[in-house]
Symmetry: C2
Subunit: 343 residues, 2 copies
């Protein structure tokens, strides 16, 4: 039986403190290109891997039960990716099918949990989009904005980490609906993208704003109806001071807190009462039954050029560890993708 060398990204040990590449290493095993006798699931050739902020949680030793489990040191990292089926024992997939979903950080993976794989039907968009715009982050933007925030035309929308995988789509959804949209991001280049490529009405570099409350009052003088929360901490505290009556906050992520020993304190929650604000935390995978509805909405927009998407693509599994930890310093410009193989 044909065998291949299978390069893998291994978690060497649990991360403590701020992550860097040294917590990961490359390893090579040998793999037969067929599922072993008696095995269930599918054998995948991985094409694109997705770097997602939540992954740092899995790289730590979690003491309390969570919606994700810690990775196991010494084994390959896993996450979202796009792959091709090489061999299948599942009635839902056949050789040659393209899929996106949970896979390993390696060239080839055997996946037993095939229920977390989605078949890709539409291939006249870049395949890598299924790690971002058409995959988990896209669904996150859709669910958090459209399903949880009940947005209305003319409302004032603020998005943090706005140029990222999720944020850039939230902003474009909000513009399509006729909202006034402002975003924050961590560099001039990202701010320019927001204004010139994604059509945000305003954008600012939060790193150059010593007073976030003042910045929000400058860019959103009428206040905020909808806050799409990606960062937490000081930004959330400033946003709370600027919420409008009956405002909504989709609590998607708090990346500024993921690598702190102790999360920062948020002081302005009393504004939830006086402004009657709803804050709703969510996990996108609870909402995957909406994926078809999401595709029906978004594919025409992509094909008509109403929605664009920026990816930050690095080549090869060797580049994956740096790409992943780069998320936490904002190195990525747009959706961070790793190419494992282009076909």
């Amino acid at each position: 039986m044909a065998q291949v060398r299978n390069k893998q990204v291994i978690l060497k040990e649990y991360v403590s403190g701020f992550p860097d590449e040294s917590y990961m290493s490359l390893n090579t095993t040998i793999l037969p290109l067929k599922l072993p006798e008696g095995s269930s699931g599918v054998l995948l050739k991985n094409l694109y891997l997705s770097c997602d902020p939540y992954m740092i949680n899995r790289m730590r030793k979690l003491n309390t039960p969570s919606y994700v489990e810690s990775f196991e040191p010494g084994t390959p990292i896993n996450g979202y990716g796009v792959a091709k089926i090489l061999d299948s024992r599942s009635p839902n997939f056949k050789e040659g099918d393209l899929v996106w979903g949970r896979t390993g950080w390696e060239e080839y993976s055997i996946i037993k949990a095939t229920e977390s794989l989605f078949k890709i039907h539409d291939t006249d968009v870049p395949l890598s989009y299924y790690t971002g715009l058409l995959g988990m982050p896209g669904m996150t933007a859709y669910v958090g904005f459209h399903e949880l925030c009940s947005p209305k035309q003319g409302e004032h929308v603020f998005i943090s980490a706005a140029s990222g995988a999720v944020g850039q789509l939230v902003g474009q959804f909000a513009k399509l609906l006729g909202c006034h949209v402002v975003g924050s991001a961590g560099s001039k280049e990202k701010v320019d993208l927001l204004k010139n490529k994604f059509g945000f009405d305003e954008a600012f570099n939060y790193k150059e704003e010593p007073d976030l409350d003042a910045a929000l009052k400058r860019y959103l003088p009428e206040g905020i109806d909808i806050y799409f929360e990606n960062v937490g901490g000081k930004m959330l505290d400033a946003v709370l001071l600027n919420m409008r009556v009956h405002g909504r906050i989709a609590v998607c992520g708090m990346i500024s807190q993921y690598n702190l020993e102790k999360p920062e304190g948020v002081h302005n929650l009393m504004h939830l009462i006086s402004k009657r604000v709803r804050m709703q935390g969510f996990i996108v995978s609870d909402h995957y039954h909406l994926y078809t509805k999401f595709l029906e909405l978004i594919l025409p927009h992509i094909k008509q050029g109403n929605i664009v998407y920026v990816e930050d693509v690095v080549e090869g599994l060797e580049s994956a560890p740096a790409a992943l930890v780069g998320l936490y310093s904002g190195r990525n410009v747009g959706k961070q993708v790793v190419v494992v193989s282009r076909e």
Copy 2:
């Protein structure tokens, strides 16, 4: 025309720091017992006045616009109360009607904003209940619990400031629905009330719990589906660690924060995401259109003895300042009422 002496509680100056009685004083004016020629509104004889935690906000100089305005130093405080109509220029009220709603902290008040008065129809309950159980705090419990939390039988409910005007009713609503109900309060006497009078499953004195997280884990080992938030600060932080998946938090009040220079920091908001928690702030007056529905639900329960209510009643306007500031040290046991006149 008959004239009367009208005793009043005046705000002497804006409160700074922790409030005490010295910020208020008694004053007497002379008032004709008829509405002046050309005046609109109603002339009220005040019977019961309500001491409510939000009032401290109005005793301070508010710099930012809020849902309430600051009181004016040198004029009578105002708030909720029960009163009898002595004279009316409003088509909705006639002499002799009993009402509850916004009135002055004085013996007689001229009220122009009659839209904030509700006519009292049911008088075979204690009239003072219209400051609490059948008034604003009762509606607050109803709206926060039934309308915002979508409670279900068997869910685990936690209530802070649980023996107070709002909390004691929330707990009884939750028990009637078949929830598992736990409350916190600030003395042994209050804890006993919760368990023995209001039928809570468990209750604890938060002042004797150095580790609130541990206390919650002890009394709610399966976690919290619904938190009725009355106090904020450290209690909220501990609750966030104990929320169950798809939990709901009705953000009613944060009394532990009202008298701090700077509100405490809340660190555990990331749990909103992993537990998919909804936090909803509200102001009861947005929901007064539900008052009739509320009465239809609660009056039969009161008459059948399924819902009981504890009031802390002090006599005379002279006692009002101490009763009001007593809320912030937990001096009141149950709903704090001031009797101005019994008929």
